[in-house]
């Protein structure tokens, strides 16, 4: 066989040992580098801009004496007084109730998908988790309104908000837990089965504890995500300027709802409260975010 290769085709008479890459290729490569780096800078600009805005405009409110310990009860729109503890309470209690409901369901659903699920039902479930993750918060709120308030006749309350938040939280919890469960090596499960431990006990005693810190990380991220949700509180609970401890009855404030209602306050004090509440909300969310990422540092599964 003869070797008629590309080598037989024309090539320059003399050449250096390593051939140069052409100018146009180098230009393209450099232009791409510049554009790609520029894209990253563009992405960082709004983040910094938003954070600087919120911190600079919100900080004065946070340093006032009443901010963390009083409500807005009896405070006139134009007064630079009062605080937001009623809204902080609302934000936290609504998130807490949602977490209490969503976490067990989410973890069980993840266990189903990883440990039990086979066939069409599992595929459908997995598909629907993705769909649920894309359901807009306003739709989740409308659903709770339609099912519980219109049809079942329940009153508007913080609990209704929590139900809508459950829907928004579930897919985040499920996906995170699922990922952690899949990281647990099969040999751990097999060694437990070999000892005659039933599957469900293996899951509860061996698989879940191994995936525990990762699961907690996912839950904290889910909480951080839902605490800023505004659409459900707009639809499902009335605003109150005073504290209401009862999540099942009456109006209740939350930080987003307070911000939204102060938006219609024409006085300068309204702006003061809006940005103060915004900064408060960001700080609370950051606590969960940072907590989650600290936890994930320690969540490595032994290989």
């Amino acid at each position: 066989m003869s070797t008629v290769t590309g080598a037989d085709l024309e090539r320059p008479a003399s050449e250096p040992p390593t051939r140069r890459i052409s100018l146009s290729r180098r230009i393209k490569d450099n232009v791409a580098t510049v554009l790609v780096s520029l894209a990253f800078l563009i992405a960082v600009v709004p983040l910094v801009w938003v954070l600087v805005t919120v911190v600079s405009r919100g900080a004065p409110a946070l340093f006032s004496a009443d901010w963390w310990g009083t409500s807005l009860s009896g405070i006139l729109p134009e007064e630079y007084e009062g605080g937001v503890y009623h809204a902080i309470y609302g934000t936290l209690i609504q998130a807490l109730i949602a977490t209490v409901i969503a976490v067990p369901i989410g973890i069980l659903a993840a266990i189903y998908l990883v440990e039990y699920g086979r066939g069409a039902l599992a595929r459908t479930t997995s598909f629907m988790v993705d769909i649920l993750a894309g359901v807009p918060s306003i739709v989740a709120a409308l659903f709770v309104f339609a099912a519980f308030i219109s049809i079942l006749g329940a009153p508007q309350s913080a609990f209704m908000v929590s139900l809508a938040l459950v829907l928004l939280m579930l897919p985040v919890v499920i996906r995170n837990t699922e990922e952690m469960l899949r990281l647990v090596p099969d040999r751990l499960r097999e060694s437990a089965y070999a000892l005659g431990i039933p599957k469900w006990k293996t899951i509860l005693r061996i698989v879940l504890p191994t995936a525990f810190s990762g699961t907690v990380t996912g839950v904290m991220l889910a909480i951080a995500r839902i605490m800023g949700e505004t659409a459900p509180v707009l639809v499902l609970v009335g605003y109150s300027r005073a504290i209401n401890y009862d999540p099942f009855q009456g109006n209740m404030a939350s930080l987003p709802l307070l911000m939204y209602s102060e938006l219609s306050n024409p006085e300068a004090a309204g702006q003061y409260r809006i940005w103060g509440a915004a900064l408060t909300l960001i700080i609370i969310i950051m606590i969960f975010q940072v907590g989650a990422s600290l936890l994930s540092r320690f969540s490595a599964i032994p290989k």
Binding site: T18, R19, S22
Partner: protein, 258 residues
């Protein structure tokens, strides 16, 4: 155009780990040089330094000189991309671009260099595929994805892709280890043909293969795990396999360890 490579006092490091120690050897043009040795002895590492592919691993660095026809490929002014353009490589696992057709795979390198002339591309495509002994099998499906070929065909496709850019040297990193015996034979025949045009360096686990295809053979070894690998000796293949100078080489070849 086939070029000669000289390694002078080459040491290779991965971060703090000293991977290969003090290698001196010469790769002769238009011949096949085989690197053999036990796992972890650094033979693949040395091969990957010849076209600076080892730079893909963070913390990797090379001391000493690697000269391509007298020019150090690690000179400050020399671009790794230009080096790889000159020194082609075939990998252990066949790695055609899965979304590209057979034809586009073969001419991928030429297109990078800005060759747009369809006639020329088709010519090179056919010549390279003939050169890789693959033309007859794929000439009717040049537009099908390269990922649809069998393992042996994919590997020959990768060889065609490597020779289509007319490299000065062809590096082969255990090119047959993922293939069946018949495909292996086809590739070995191909290597024998290619050495008329190219300088070839091949790393292989298979001593019979080294004996069959190469003109000179270098034996790499390491004293213990964690110690750097080194070149024990390099000589004519015939001599290495019949009458090696070093006891270690003889032990390895006769299967007394490794």
């Amino acid at each position: 155009m086939a070029k000669r490579i000289d390694l002078k006092d080459v040491d290779i490091y991965y971060g703090a780990f000293h991977a290969v120690q003090n290698v001196n050897l010469t790769v002769i043009p238009r011949s096949v040089t085989a690197f053999i040795g036990p796992s972890g002895c650094g033979k693949s590492t040395v091969l990957r330094t010849l076209n600076r592919m080892h730079e893909e691993i963070a913390g990797a660095r090379v001391e000493g000189e690697i000269l391509l026809d007298g020019e150090n490929i690690y000179d400050r002014g020399t671009d790794a991309v230009a080096v790889r353009r000159t020194i082609g490589m075939v990998f252990q696992m066949p790695n055609p671009f899965p979304t590209m057709s057979v034809r586009d795979n073969v001419v991928a390198g030429l297109k990078l260099q800005g060759v747009r002339d369809k006639k020329k591309l088709d010519e090179v495509c056919e010549a390279s595929l003939r050169g890789a002994n693959l033309w007859k099998e794929v000439k009717d499906r040049l537009d099908k994805p390269g990922g649809g070929l069998s393992g042996g065909q994919q590997q020959r496709l990768c060889i065609a892709r490597a020779i289509a850019v007319q490299p000065d040297v062809l590096l082969m990193d255990e090119p047959c280890s993922a293939l069946d015996p018949i495909s292996t034979l086809a590739i070995e025949d191909l290597i024998a043909d290619l050495k008329k045009e190219y300088t070839i360096v091949i790393v292989t686990h298979n001593m019979q293969q080294a004996a069959r295809v190469s003109d000179q053979t270098g034996f790499f070894n390491l004293e213990a795990t964690g110690k750097p690998g080194h070149l024990v000796e390099i000589d004519d293949t015939e001599k290495i396999f019949s009458n090696p100078t070093q006891q270690a080489t003889e032990d390895y070849i006769s299967g007394r360890f490794g």
